[in-house]
Amino acid sequence: MGEVILQMKDIDKSFPGVHALDHVGFEVRRGEVHALMGENGAGKSTLMKVLTGIYKKDSGSIIYKGKEVEFHNTREAQDNGVVIVHQELNMVGDLSVAQNIFIGREPRKGLRIDDKKMIEDSKALFDRLRIDIDPTEKMSELTVGKQQMCEIAKAISHNAELIIFDEPSAALTEKEIEDLFSIIRDLKAQDLGIIYISHRMDEIKVITDRVTVMRDGGYVGTLITADCTKEDIINMMVGRVIYEKPKEKSLVPDDAPVVLKVEHLNAGKMVQDVSFELRKGEILGFSGLMGAGRTETARAIFGADPKQSGDIYVNGEKVEINSPEDAVKHGIGYLSEDRRRFGIVVGKSIVENSTMATLEEYMNGIFINKGKEKEAAERYINELGTKTPSSDQLVVNLSGGNQQKVVIAKWLVRNSDILIFDEPTRGIDVGAKNEIYKLMNRLAAEGKSIIMISSEMTEILRMSDRIVIMCEGRKTGEVKIEEATQELIMDKATRQMS
């Protein structure tokens, strides 16, 4: 490890209602891969956004290459050699790979953009990184994994001295992850500083030199990776909230009736011949990498996206589901991974959101019975322990965990028996997460059946009675909780089908 390339001291940042960063310190040396860890919402991404100028810090200082700096935008950060490989892909789908890599700094001959040089340079870059991608291909036609590699190539091509990888492996297959690691090792050898954000403990152990852990917007500590165990890191991440051990055995009796049966479901590339059963009172975990087709499967079952073929049986009866309306009629509820976009109407009140799926039952002739509606909403505020001053509160003012409870309330008001929880705890802080877990267990005990899609292994192992694993649009395995191990699931989740 070389000299310190980046030092962030006492960084503080608040958003309305949230103290996102509480006097955080962080440093990176040249030739080091420094992991930044923490639960969702711990402030890792915010810290990196402050570094790269997307957010402005409230106080504190950033010392980069020995000088205090403040970047005002990503461009300025890039020009100084600080680049970020985003978690969410930032690609211009209608442009080619080469055009994407050089966007904003195209080589030119006079007025004309020198596309030929761009393509050659991209080829050289890919050769150096040993990536096999055609630079002239349209970006939107690549797989998610390849798009991710392009993003990395783009970052590296900026003559970077400090590279931030924000969960780069979430969408990659095992093979691609290995390629990524060899790239990172090369970069390390070139004395670059590397920040690596990931949830995957195994990766952290393999590729990083030091680990800094954050929790609830605060700095917890920094460890040398080689000298610590997974448990040390986990303890730092979760703090006083202690995670339950994985579920030992399924709580569902073997003779529990099948409430939902899906057979040979096909919907585009992401859902190919998926079949499974869901029993009454069961929590069925859906595991897999980002882009494995789990959300697409859920959406196809729910009728949110069109499907090409496949049969769905609810309580043994074959049903036609062509729209969410049909699904809801058959007692299915869907909690989206992206609450703000698909779950709630943020500008409306808790009451309005709670009765969204059931409004026809709260009518007085053609008029809405607002009293009855409010009553129902308040019943579930109490039952779920939603923290809000009143039921008229706009949902936008609630925290992530409480917003999630409003979405759950919507389906409980509807009395849905089959609930699909898609990444139910994404972006929710640790305390609220535990509450959601308890709630799910309670619902299952009350006889509701739950499909839980999750990318967090601990969550899958902790909650599920049975686990379905998907990879590249296909179901690649199904294991009982008694037999499930991280390694087994990971193996199936990265299995190449072709």
Partner: protein, 328 residues
Amino acid sequence: MEKFKQNPLVKKLGFNRIVLCGVLILMYIFFSILVPAVTGSQFAGMSHIMGALNYAYFLGFLSLGVTFVIATGGIDFSIGPVMFCCGLVSGYCLMTYNMPLPVCLLISVLIGALFGLWNGYLVAYWSVPPFIVSMASMNMAKGIASVFTKTQSVSWPRSTDANGWFRNLIKMGGIPTGLICFLVAAVICAIILNNTRFGRYIICLGSNKEAVRLSGVDTRKWQMFAYLMCGLLVGIATIFFVGTYTTVQPGYGDQYNNEAIAGCVMGGTSMAGGLASIGGTVIGVFIISLLQEGILALKLTKDVQLIITGLIVIVAVYADVMARRRKN
């Protein structure tokens, strides 16, 4: 100021609406001073108020209609030409084919509704961008009206004519019945928007269509109904237009789009959808109507009004954009 905003009565009436009323009154005072100073004739007094009100009726119905569409996050700027199409086709039926008046009025409402349905169907079921649908409908309305009337203008019967009784809807004796009709319609619209499933769904889908759809609501149907509602109100607006101005010429009507949209967005309905205020729209319509009367009284041309209305819309929408930016 903050204290005033927190006052329960102010909260109930809505701070923005109180400000709008203030603007309306100030504008009246402004014209009352400026018009005599510039032209030497009076502005204060009933005749100009009646002039403004006459303008407010049909514009009000247009504005109420477009409020429903804007609440869904869409737009319809075919309403002006569609109103002209309604007036021309039904008027032509009345004058040339001697159809009974009630039938003609019904035809007018029906044409409006059909255009609304067509626009709504394309937007909701085929995801055609609303501005494209509006643009196409605007020209189709003009084309249909011209083809139907063979590019002739149409004059509706005067109040003394045999079929003139329908003008009682606008003015009966000295009573401005049009005002009553408009206000009653506004109250009904407000109830529909705030107390029915239709209203709840269109406002919510204007804010987040996907979330509403994933709650099992047939969003496409309700979204189409919003355009249908708009079309119906445009059809009704026609009756008040021809009852006030008698003659309808083919090929026109565009300017009323902007004025109707101006009344709506000024009243606090957000162009981004999800937020609508019928009360605000009513006051907004009165402001636009008074403005047009004032401009006429100042002996300025319609052109000035086009420019001022354009500026008003820009300012009103920008204010909404700023308000939303501050929230985020």
